[in-house]
């Protein structure tokens, strides 16, 4: 039988170890479904969640006609990759459009390529495919009214979802999380798979 003091000491020790350290990001393990989808890659070919097994995946729902927050988020993820160094090879950024009408595979290819053609991939699909995927991860998005020029905005969530190499949902990063915090947590996720 362990005494309360011994238990406390164990927790204190565990607190010092890597595993028990709290995450900087929001831990969503067990609260969101695994990475599972059927979409179209920015090369025009079908792609599924299984295509990214073996990589830590950062999933971001955005669209290309979004000048401020979407590129800022992608830019911050680039900083994260830089901080990861060689570990970045085990990470993929999946930019899933919530504006499939305008974001063709080619448009997405050019867009993610402007950030990082090696680690970032643009994904699109039918309205139904995008809708059901967004619902699966509780991403709210909505196409707004068109202006007289036919332009429109898309309201959407700005969170970045982190899935581990087995496709399990692990963490959620928001605008408030610094690239350093994201990189530190990602390193732990990447290292855990080996």
């Amino acid at each position: 039988m362990l005494s309360a003091a011994a238990l406390l000491a164990m927790f204190a020790l565990a607190g010092c170890s890597q595993r028990a350290e709290p995450w900087h990001l929001t831990n969503v393990s067990g609260h969101l479904p695994d990475l599972d989808f059927s979409l179209t890659g920015d090369d025009g070919r079908p792609v599924t969640g299984a295509s990214f097994k073996g990589h830590t995946s950062l999933v971001y729902f955005g669209y290309t006609h979004c000048p401020d927050v979407c590129p800022e988020t992608m830019g911050r993820l680039m900083q994260v990759l830089n901080k990861l160094g060689p570990d970045a090879q085990k990470v993929r950024i999946l930019f899933i459009t919530v504006d499939p009408a305008r974001d063709t595979p080619q448009a997405l290819h050019d867009y993610v390529g402007a950030f990082d053609p090696t680690h970032a991939e643009g994904l699109t699909g039918t309205d139904w495919q995008i809708e059901s995927l967004a619902k699966r991860y509780r991403v709210a998005y909505q196409m707004e009214k068109r202006d007289p020029n036919g332009n429109y905005e898309v309201t959407h969530s700005s969170a970045v979802y982190v899935f581990d190499a087995q496709g399990r949902a692990r963490l959620l990063a928001t605008d408030n999380d610094t690239p350093d915090a994201i990189a530190q947590d990602l390193r732990r996720i990447v290292d855990q798979r080996s």
């Binding site: 000048p67 927050v69 800022e72 680039m78 402007a114 202006d147």
Partner: protein
Amino acid sequence: MNPITTKVRTLSASAGAAAVALSLSLSLAFIGHAQAAAPQAITAKDAWVRWLPNNLPAAGYVTLVNAGDKPVDLVDISSSDYGDAMLHQTVSNGSSQKMVMVDKLTIPAHGQVAIAPGGYHLMLEDAKHKIAPGDTVRLKLKFSDGATLDTPFAVKSPAQTK
């Protein structure tokens, strides 16, 4: 999970703002002329544009510094490099963020305002010629004190966050 909205201004709002800005700049240009000898209160620094491919709408960022004793408003933006240039703001509303068009931005006396990612941005659309990272574009920033700053903006790769 903050929903974000990119507000594209309506034609009528844009025309209205343009009319206000025009009348403001006309009336203030006269005053500005009378005070031509006064030193310029506003200076711009760290001006850059986050380039995006395929002529997508791009965002310009800049820090405006007011050395004067009075607050000054940024009242109009124009550019010979873009068909459309306007001030937008990302407004947080609880858990959600929205982008709205802004008519003016006040730079406090002896203060500064950063037009920076996630806050204000200069929405730049319809580039009039091919623009690429490494280029310099110019934006004319008009202020309520009658001054106009013809400001060079460094065009940067989108992967850069500053």
